[in-house]
Symmetry: C2
Subunit: 365 residues, 2 copies
């Protein structure tokens, strides 16, 4: 558990905030605080620890021998958002990375996770990626999810504990409860780098995000490695809202791209240059067009709920949590067995700046 003194200090420093979801009251850490990761959530009688940061390597040939001294498991890194799913007083909830109980994810968990799992294992927490074209947070989506969303398990935690269940224990539970999991590529030794590189080339061609590597050892050391496709795609997807992101979002991805190519010696460099330039500029052109024609830079999201009430709660959550973004509900209607919610995010920084510039305004920089 967390010492009372730390909690008081965190509250005073505004790192710990009180939240409510329906009748459930809890506290969440809005930032890393001392050794407590952001997104750690405190309920009356237990703590769900935040999902820890995972270090990134930029080149496999040097990164693998430097990071690992034992064989490591290789798993797909799915491009979605990270949640922690658990049962509390008979109800199943899903926490976002930031530690909010998410009304959308919570609504949809039962479609993907057999509740028997939590009835049998009430103290376990499933760490999952939610991904797909109809998710409300991330504009990207893996190619293998064609509609709606899917849930992908990658780790299991225990309530009140940091760290994860051993890998083989996770495998046993996945099998026993038929849990949906990220793709697993097996155990690699540090000597099998060429095979791993070949795997990454395939994932890159298949437009997947990358891999997480987990050492098969007591210390459970992890690192991640991202494909050049994913880096380019991040730029392509976000350039519409370039001013809404920390500017080093782009310099980081440029560096990763350069190091990927430096290692791989990608042949068709001219084509890659073209793709990179287009990734940056096409979103900006679209933003200019929107600002000129519609007076706002925005993107429409759509997602499916089981319960209408959850969609309404979700809209309130989004409006409450968004900074520099205005969230507008567009429609909510029943379609088959779902309630289909459509909403838009208006990117206020882009809208404001492009409006000023296109009206002929000047800027001092």
């Amino acid at each position: 558990m967390i010492a009372q003194d730390s909690l008081k200090e965190a509250l005073r420093k505004n790192k710990l905030k009180s939240e409510t979801f329906r009748n459930l009251e809890y506290l969440r850490f809005t930032d890393d605080f001392k050794d407590i990761p952001r997104g750690t959530a405190l309920f009356k009688d237990m703590v769900i620890w935040g999902y820890p940061h995972i270090g990134r390597i930029f080149q496999l040939s040097t990164g693998i021998p430097e990071q690992f001294s034992a064989p490591f498991w290789v798993e797909e890194k799915v491009d979605g958002y990270n949640v922690r799913v658990f049962m509390h007083k008979g109800e199943i909830y899903a926490l976002t990375r930031g530690g909010y109980v998410c009304a959308f994810t919570t609504d949809r968990v039962p479609d993907f996770v057999d509740p028997t799992f939590f009835e049998d294992n009430p103290d376990l927490v499933l760490c999952m990626e939610v991904a797909g074209p109809e998710n409300p947070y991330v504009e990207e989506s893996p190619p293998h999810v064609k509609e709606d969303v899917k849930f992908f398990l990658f780790d299991i935690m225990r309530k009140n504990h940091q760290g994860f269940l051993p890998y083989r224990e996770k495998l046993r539970l996945i099998e026993k409860y038929n849990l949906p999991s990220v793709e697993r590529y097996g155990l690699y030794t540090p000597e099998r780098i060429e095979e791993l590189k070949a795997l990454l080339r395939r994932l890159n061609e298949e437009k997947r995000e990358g891999v997480v590597l987990k050492e098969d050892s007591e210390r459970d050391k992890r690192v991640k490695y991202i494909t050049s496709y994913a880096n380019l795609n991040d730029i392509r997807i976000t350039s519409l809202n370039m001013l809404g992101l920390p500017a080093d979002y782009y310099t980081n991805r440029l560096l990763r791209l350069a190091l990927f190519i430096e290692e791989e010696g990608v042949e068709k460099t001219q084509e890659l240059f073209r793709e990179l330039g287009e990734a940056f500029l096409s979103g900006l052109f679209q933003a200019c067009k929107m600002a000129r024609e519609e007076g706002k830079v925005h993107r429409v999201f759509r997602c499916r709920f089981r319960k209408r009430e959850n969609a309404l709660i979700f809209m309130e959550q989004m409006k409450h949590a968004s900074v520099h973004i205005q969230v507008n509900q567009l429609s909510l209607r029943q379609e088959g067995e779902f309630w289909l919610l459509e909403f838009e995010k208006v990117f206020l920084n882009m809208t404001g700046l492009l409006g000023h510039i296109l009206r002929g305004g000047s800027l001092i920089d």
Copy 2:
């Protein structure tokens, strides 16, 4: 003059620093402070005001009618560094934009400015751009300066006064003293936007930086506009040291490029995409290569001095003023009528980060 209270407050807040050049002692504002621009320099009996910020417009068709209500003078914006040149107790000095007396610029002024100007006009300050392949600060250089540096006058100030002499007065002094000036394209009316756009297209093809527009009116309103060539070139030149710059350096230039193309409808967009991608990645590839082969990311500068002593003072100034950059003198030798100084700037952020990554290190971001 500046109120004593302001000076004390600025000193206390570390916005005002004491400097020495040979026997000359002075204070300089290291940042904008209240209404005092960064680079304002205080000498015992007078103030040289800092050169003010000039707003930037991103599109001519809307920017010109929005910004100007009278005809405006159009001048080339030269890609170099901004200095203020003046005489003090019989000696001529040059201040950088940041308010340092620069040993290099001061050394070279007499090659380009007739000292008679200052003997006749001891209270005037020449605002000039210094540009060329052998300048010690800026890695870019205008195409029309083939070697060494040149000085280009664009404004004249008075000691102890903010603001500039009237444009026609400047023209008279340029003519009378044969002062080297930026190219001047004459007086435009806000109705002549198409002509101005044609001028900018020509400057873009000639690989020039852009223009400064100065309203022919009491208020002397100014704005600047930069060619797409210059934006691309900024990215190309600096990507070697991408982590040494504020990350919004790049997002700003991307936005300018997009707005330039949005207005001009540049045809060969595919080629522009390719150029942009290459501008970002070629410098990063070069940085990786340097980090791998030489253990450091660096760039060599060379410049010509009249006096050996000034080169030595300049090296001390550079070492003193550089942050995140290590400055190493490589050579100083006589060549014809000049002392040729060669030095390198080692970019410590890039060197450190790439070294870590290429050794297989991981990063949390």
